[in-house]
Amino acid sequence: MSDVLAEIDREVKENPVVVYMKGTPRFPMCGFSAATVEVLNEIGVPFKAIDILTEAEKREGVKAYTSWPTIPQLFVGGKFVGGCDIVRELHAKGELAPLLRKAVGRG
């Protein structure tokens, strides 16, 4: 488990925007993952997506890393932002786009 945690830690710190999801951005396998990707696409920033159905060890790994019980999980600038409901709420408030653009250097 500690290897997985170290890899997740590296992943979220090396990439400005990372989402752990079920399925892929083109073929999401869960409504919450689909909705999260939809928000990211709408804002239009590049992001790294990790399919926890393919990389199965990260399914429990990322939950342990954040102490957060559900997938998807969004990280921006190495920090955990939240799951689907929080992503949608921050987007509705107009707070997500500036956070993302700043992280990818388009602020």
Binding site: W68, F80, G82, I86
Partner: protein, 79 residues
Amino acid sequence: MVDPDEVRRRLEAELPGARIEVANPAGDGEHLEVQVASPAFAGLGLVEQHRMVYAALGDLMPRIHALQLRTTAEGESAR
């Protein structure tokens, strides 16, 4: 699946004074929509607010297939 009333009871026990709505729109106890407005959320970020709800639900969490959650600090306007 879970009993939506059990979800409500757990939340009421852990977050006294909260306004709680538990909807079970598909009627299957698998896809729940939960809204919680609590003064205990004041000053906390959404991540911390959601964590408190997850903690209150405890062992129910893995038994809920899909939980849509909305939290507000009491006193904030719920949109």
